[in-house]
Symmetry: D2
Subunit: 396 residues, 4 copies
């Protein structure tokens, strides 16, 4: 594995120079106003990236998994019912987590490659006339299959059913890379991580919490301390933190948001879409297709590529690592072997993406798959060169 | 706050150059063998620092608080009884955490400045003939008061009482800086953090878990996922991690252990003792004394200095920060205002320590306290210059 | 210009992570033994990379230009004659430098794209029966045209002519990337820079000086102080430096040599050849050819690509920078506009190279040149995937 | 030598975090506009720090020694006469350099510890009725003795004598730390280095050149290429550089100036004066005195401390390094052994300075010198705590 090649895993992403430098800092006193001066802009920036209305931002020294756990332990009690669709490894894991915490999960089994089934969700909500369902869990971007679900549609389903359940969204691999509208979609808890759209190392779970979810916090019976929103909010109000924070990552988060907003969130989303589309053009040129079942489901942060019959995506990933020092993502769970995944999120450039596509092609040829070298690259080149609209920013 | 001055908070510590560089790394694929090659030496090194026998090391992307939570949720069930003494803010917080997770905590209230009361603990254990007590919790080094407790003594109490309770030890501010003997003391779970003796940024909870505690894991009823040892151990066995690890901190942990072992753990402990003793000499020269009630209780990582009547330790800490850009620790809880704290752990040098002592003196004079400038510095100088026995290591 | 894309200028090269970290160090006392402990392995390593026999290594806080100046001012006097061929911008500049220092330069004008003309050199030496020529200057790798000259051949010419002139070689863009045999070729001064094969930032001129050249030092009349070998050698012998050294770069140089020797110099040269050959395959697929007139002249560190009639290489370089954030080298002097240059030296990987080739193709298409997108990439892919023989090293 | 302790050598200085990060950058194309965008603010900032009027800034990848050489080779011819006083190692070295370049140096021998002798200079200029003297060389701050000379006084001497000689000033260890007024003092060339007031690593010579000196450039006969101002200025005008620049150091220089100007140059000078005064108070408390003969000569960047009879300053420096890992400066030349030097320039804090003073005291006691531990520290503390007028800047 060369430290000089970009990575194409669907997160953690390649870390921009400025963010590495922001994170790498000497020790400061986290009980001093110096810390508060770093923390406040990070919190305020997350609010803007999530497009939150009222509510609070919570930043935990943890990961996305911890964010999921925090979402439920702060709002629910043992035996509570939640509704969730399972259509990939990450939606599966959140369901599993809920079950291990004693929640009753009403699971809508959905084929991998599909997104959140709006009809089935609405039907389940309408059927729940007693409002036993306390929360609907939705995976905005299923990283295992490269599928983006329609969160606005789930909000419409809730509204159509007149159901008061909270809406919790796993946006770990979408937030900061694809449009996210917490206020517009009526999301009650949004969960992000530091290592995807925010381009930081792993180590922070970042949550937006609506007033409604904050209300639930008061009666939630699931035990929690490390993840307790109440301690967090009490300390934040005093410019502090309830225990030792991950100061460097918080400094990095502030810098990340500065970088995202300097480019403009809309431009960031457009850039992700453009690189994702270039990837899809390459895949089509290879005669393959995304695991995501239809274009409306295509993720702009990761593409799971269905490999031809008789081929094994995991072999490609292993060969890319050992022969070329390049990291792609393997297929997980139901799609293990059937796909390999190309992450195209974070501060990726055209040039970096092309190197990944070229590497995948070499691996295919090495493995004896039917592929014309240069074909996917050429398709991506043609698209990229005709779609560059943004002037390149100057280096530091 | 100047980024150039050393910090004298009782952790996070000043971070050595080499450790900062080890932590600051480009993204790698955490599912690749590259990660396993970093993780294994870190785990093996922790084992040596803890002086573990059999058992397992668990490394969580969390903090000491998360380590406490992991210790109980992986081994206990709602309603279980634990025994703990409260003699400072950190012993208090662990007790509070247990209560919030539904445990019955049998609390032995102990004056702040004292350590774990061996007699009372033994008495409580002897009285518990039904063995309701499942675990004894002990804070090895109470960071709030600068008190080191006698963990071997607690083991003797357990043995004397013939009690089968597990022994859980908070070694967050001792491990890596003061002798710790997990095997010899029969500790079942030891909790450390990255940001103290390991000299890393905050972000890792590091646990040693005995075979007995691993056995308890199977029947423990408290809900957990993020902190679940079972997922951890299953993934570790395959060279992986159950979710995205904090790769840079793990690389830094491996480097930290390399640095500690290059110096030699005994030499590291001797160095901490020497700097702590120099600090105590300075304090005596100021006419003050440690919060720790007697020399056998003195911590070698942090000294809480009792300030004279009519003086307020918090004012000193604030003045040091605003006027001199130097961070000390304030008094917490019962000793708020009554003490200020000097952290002297991690890769501190004589020279750095003297700068902290000199700063404290200036603040005392500024605040109108009775102090002779240079007096504490002189006492420390005299001790330090006569106790340097180790040749200085060459720089990188 | 994106800081995330690799550069394809013919130096400074992309800097490996470990070398950046070695260079970025806190201040040490350059008069202390700590400095000597860094300096000595750097000097010893340079000796091995140059394959020096007897003689001395000189390291100046300067650049290649300073190295050229140091070579002549330490060995020659005003009015002395030197023999040199001009066949590119860098051979031209060295000639110009000599003339500005009052030397009589006997110039053999040679077409750009050719290398050092062995026959003409031998003829000139044979004609110089009075041995007025004190030194022959040779540019091992002419960075402007991508031409490697035959230094062993120049030695043979000197020997055949029985001429006692010294042999000075500009190896700035070859040393550390292509075989260099100072002892075998009888080189009297070899000039290297930090920013090419050594993969460091610019800032060091690195010279190997033979015993014969050291002898000339005693009588050399050209004025010099900053570059004076005598001061350098006197200080080095005492473990010091005659003025303030560039300590970080010297630490980086020691690390660079460690990296080169860990890979093995032969493997390093083979890697450079392989990437150069892949580049040439791509060029051929584009229907173009190198500026270097014949395969024996092909440089393994930089390829100057002759662009088709009616095309302007400089436009490609500018477009690559502004549209794709990628840096190539423009044509200089006689070949301005007629070529663009692809640097493929330093710690470049297959994957990085492919991204550069893909970028060049997009630019060609953007500029309306006749090119099939993906064609050069495919040719390089085919070669690269069939020539990978070395197992990839593990990351740090 | 510990990398964690501050250094107290009179340069290179301790490097602020932000400057280290600015210098440590990935490779960019130095022929691109990206480089020009870094270089221009650095040049403009140097102009402000020097308080230049008309004229040009020249930045060379070299050191102060190279700056001296560039000053003379760009303006003078072999056999030209220059006037200089010798009163320390650095004034000596510049004289030596001139002699080695074939200049006739009219040397005014002056006791070490004195500054430039204004009367003798004026007399020499008045005596030179034929205006053979082409330049007066003056060492603004003699780093060997800690003496600041009166450059305005030299200008007055020149004016009083009606002498047209140019005035060249070595400001290597003063510029950026003590007031410098190139325009007001009529300085023709000012020489600075990166590693003192600019707080960077060594590697840049920084010169301000007056229109008069630029005029002399046209007729100067001393050979030069690497240092040639003509090549520099021609390239600068085109946004370029005549050879490969030290890009990272230039980025760092731009950051350095930003930091200096954020604090305010007057505040920077006041801070240096304050720390120097604290150092002198400590020295007085030790019963010693500066090498500088009188208060008007005291340097604010370095103090050479005269050690008591029978004591050897070099022993103190060696002991500080080996026993405490702290670097002071030894005495050089005539004052070798008779002094040790404390550098107090760059981004030093009160706290860092006190640690140096405390270390010196311990060494004195260790060596058996008569010293009261804490005495110098106390004197400095008393002065420092009563002279803090500036609010501390926030971190990061």
């Amino acid at each position: 594995m060369s430290l000089q090649n970009p990575v194409f895993i669907p997160g953690p992403t390649n870390i921009p120079e400025e963010i590495r430098k922001a994170c790498d800092m000497p020790t400061i006193d986290h009980r001093s106003p110096t810390f508060a001066r770093m923390f406040k802009p990070a919190v305020a920036g997350v609010r803007r990236v999530l497009n939150m209305g009222a509510g609070e931002v919570i930043i935990l020294p943890s990961t996305g998994t911890g964010g999921w756990e925090a979402a439920i332990t702060n709002t629910l009690s043992q035996g509570d019912t939640v509704l969730a669709a399972r259509f990939g490894m990450f939606s599966h894991r959140w369901i599993d987590l809920c079950q291990r915490h004693g929640l009753a999960v009403q699971v809508i089994e959905t084929p991998w490659g599909q997104g959140a089934p709006l009809g089935a969700i609405e039907a389940a909500l309408r059927a729940d006339t007693g409002h036993k369902i306390k929360a609907v869990l939705a995976t905005h971007n299923e990283t295992a299959t490269g599928v983006r679900s329609d969160i606005a549609g789930i909000r419409r389903a809730l509204d159509a059913a007149g159901h008061p359940a909270m809406l919790f969204v796993d946006g770990v691999s979408s937030i900061g890379s694809m449009p996210f509208d917490m206020a517009g979609w009526g999301v009650d808890i949004a969960v992000a991580g530091s290592q995807k759209g925010f381009m930081l190392p792993a180590g922070l779970a970042i949550l937006g919490v609506s007033p409604k979810a904050l209300g639930a916090m008061e009666t939630a019976g699931l035990p929690r301390t490390f993840f307790d929103f109440r301690d967090m909010l009490k300390s934040y109000a005093a410019g502090g933190y309830p225990y030792t924070p991950a100061v460097g990552l918080i400094a990095g988060l502030a810098k990340s948001i500065e970088i995202l907003e300097d480019e403009g969130l809309e431009a960031v989303y457009a850039r992700h879409h453009r690189l994702a589309e270039a990837t899809r053009r390459a895949i089509a040129a290879w005669g393959m297709r995304p695991c995501a079942a239809s274009p409306d489901l295509y993720s702009d942060t990761v593409t799971a590529v269905l490999v031809p019959d008789g081929c094994n995506g995991t072999e490609l990933v292993q060969l890319a690592a050992t022969k070329y020092g390049v990291a792609f993502g393997v297929g997980l769970g139901e799609v293990a072997g059937k796909v390999f995944r190309i992450g195209h999120l974070g501060m990726l450039t055209d040039v970096m993406l092309l190197s990944g596509l070229a590497t995948a092609e070499m691996c295919m040829a090495d493995l004896g798959w039917t592929v014309k070298l240069g074909s996917g690259v050429a398709a991506a080149q043609e698209y990229l060169r005709n779609s560059t609209t943004v002037a390149l920013a100057a280096a530091a």
